[in-house]
Symmetry: C2
Subunit: 120 residues, 2 copies
Amino acid sequence: MPATPPFDVRPLSRVLKALGDETRLRIVALLSHSELCVCHLVRGLALPQSSTSRHLSVLKAAGLVEARRDGTWVHYRLVPPQNALCRSQVRALVLAFSKQQALSHTVAKLLKSCGPGARR
Amino acid sequence: MPATPPFDVRPLSRVLKALGDETRLRIVALLSHSELCVCHLVRGLALPQSSTSRHLSVLKAAGLVEARRDGTWVHYRLVPPQNALCRSQVRALVLAFSKQQALSHTVAKLLKSCGPGARR
DNA sequence: TAGCCAAATCCGGAGATGCGGATATCCTCA
DNA sequence: TGAGGATATCCGCATCTCCGGATTTGGCTA
């Protein structure tokens, strides 16, 4: 009989570690409402660009977000994790975030304030 | 308009930080099946007693477990977090863990192997 | 009270993590 | 091709986290 519990918590612990940070959780909360590019997040989080980009790379390494290049801009969006347990946990979290109306308003303003779709 | 998203992710980030550790996730997985005392967890995790106790104190500080003293033994059990968002996340996690039959068997053996209810 | 068991805390060190400024890379447009 | 904007990475630093051994604390029983 193995000493470790006979099922693997490692995938989930990796995902929860990535989510267990205030800034990254705020990023996920914003992305729950729309795909966003880095400049939106820099504004929305009021953080230096380097910090924002680094946190995004952590989320990407954890398999929580994917990047899509569009000219000079890079858009990030949430993606469902491979692992089933992780996927159901993240789905529940994103669902809760997406119900937050105040977040929805914030995201709408961000989309207009900068990035490819900003009004000139 | 505040730069921070207008709703507070801090309670959730604290809980996810506590859960974002392989050992602590294994503890929660075991506790999903039964209240257990420290000696059970030391055995089940195959970790030094000091590490086990320290991880339990982290979970307690995060409001995820509570302790109950019974003579020389201290029993730990899961408790629903105060914050509603945390509570729903943890509930889903514990439900998933509690369906793992293999874990259930492991816990049954642990309960017999040591602690107040052990066969002599 | 002495001895013993379970559990919590202390300790020092190794490695991970977060940070912001500076720099590098990639892309677009004139 | 050169300038400039958007993003990624590098850098050094401070802080946090995890670890296991050793010690301390609390409670039971002889």
